[in-house]
């Protein structure tokens, strides 16, 4: 089962939020932004295949 993805996302989320907090406090706002952006992209690369497969499955159900 792909339940692991939830934990992965959660881990990424926690890490990104901690990192961006630290970076913001040390005054590197642009780095904080980059970190959160990369986290977002990482999560999206995991999620999007699932969404695609879901909609393909639905499409198959229609036929």
């Amino acid at each position: 089962m792909e339940i692991g993805i939830i934990f992965k996302i959660a881990a990424v989320g926690v890490l990104v939020s901690i990192l961006s907090q630290i970076l913001k406090h040390s005054g590197r706002d642009e780095h904080a932004f980059l970190v959160s952006l990369s986290g977002l992209l990482l999560v999206l690369t995991w999620i999007i295949p699932y969404i695609v497969s879901l909609f393909e499955y639905m499409k198959a159900l229609f036929d």
């Binding site: 792909e2 993805i5 989320g13 926690v14 999560v43 999620i47 699932y50």
Partner: protein, 524 residues
Amino acid sequence: LEIIKIMALAVIAVLICVYLKNTGSPFHLYISLSVCVLIMLMVALKLSSVIESISKFTDYLKYSGEYADILLKTVIITYVTSFTSDICKDSGYNSIANQVELFGKITIIILSIPVIFELLDMTVIQSFGCENTKFETEYTEIKFTEINQKYNASKIKFNNSTENIFVLEFEILETASLEDEIDINAYDYSEIDAQLENTGIQNLTFKEIITQLINGEFLFWEYCKSIIQNRLSSLNTYKTTFVNILLLAVFSGIFNALASQGSRLGYDTSRIIIMINLVVILSKLFTNSLRVCSEAIESILSIYQALMPVFMTAVAVITGSVTYAAYYQVILIGISLVNMLFLSAAVPLIRADYCIAVVNRLSSPERFGKLVKFIEDGVKWTCRIIIIAFTGMGCVKGIMAPMSDSFKRKLFYKSAKIIPGLGDSLDVISSAVYGSGIIIKNGIGIGGIILIIMMIGAPLIHIAVNFLLLKLTSAILQPMADKSFVQLIDDIAGIIGLLLLLVSVTGLLFIILTGLICVFTNSY
């Protein structure tokens, strides 16, 4: 134990989401999204097995192949729509969610448009006969002109036959034989036999029936048995209809449960599609019964028109021209009354009633219930009134007309008695001739009654079986099916009951009329 997995997944996801939401990062949205996708994937997996079993199921259902397809699509669309719009709402974008729902609704409506057209085809065009109305009015006109022609033709026949009667009488007097056969042969049955063959009763002639009747050999039960056996052989079609409706009810249960999840619209659509499916089955049953009913009425009318000249000649032999004319008028009025009231008014009215009943049950709050009931009551009351009118006509004419006739008759015999050398023997012979004349007249009359019973037997059984079938189905389905589903079946059963009433009343009318004429012309 997938269910526990899913539950655990959902709970864990919610816990993580709550934590992430508090830290202020946008990642809780991704988590909820991915959980939704995961669960939806599981649902889709399950759904595919459901769809497989349903498609197996639809193989048993005769008429619902395309409908099941549309229904499945509706279900999937409602699921996808609600999934997407929920995610949008979670992210706080209500307007996008609304647009998604709107699009889903429109897609469902577009999907169900062909079904709605099918419904129109089934009920309005087929039942009202939009394309056929012209044809039908022409048809009834033809019927009326036909009757008029027959009337004129038999008028001529009457003039001929009054001459014939006296020739016949003297022939009988001359031969003075008490054998009935001669007398039976004196009438022309060819037209009745032609009608008989038209309506599908072969290898049986009217003369046979009468001879058998007069000789007391008529095996009525044999004929009835053959008719019933004929009908029972088509029992299989009834069975398939019955099973179809039952399966459809089960089907509707499954689909209503599936579709009610998504939205109100999905539920309504699935309900209406199931109902339309039912309407398709029912309207096959209904149009079949309607056709059988009108054919039965028409065949009774035509057989009566063919029988009338013979019967009336027999009556004329016994009574005389005045009574003949009176009864002729009565029967003619009767035939055109039945033709006008039943074939041209009641049958189209019942068709309209059927359509209204269908629309009534399709609209979710009942709208035309009173109208349906009103038309039903109207037809029932018309039947009652017509029975009373017929009995009245038969009786009154029977009492009024014979006076002058019997007087003439007695005069004829008294004057005949005066002839020297013939007087006494003529008395004996004339009473004998009268006796046999009455027997033959009654034989023809009862033969006509039996013919009507035979003609009416098959359609009556057919419609009655349809009626009972629907009643039984609605009774069985009441605990498990949708309320409007059961009520629609019940309504249509009531309307088919009206057809049953029409056919039996038509038969009864002519049986009463013939019986009355037989009884009232016996006392000469």
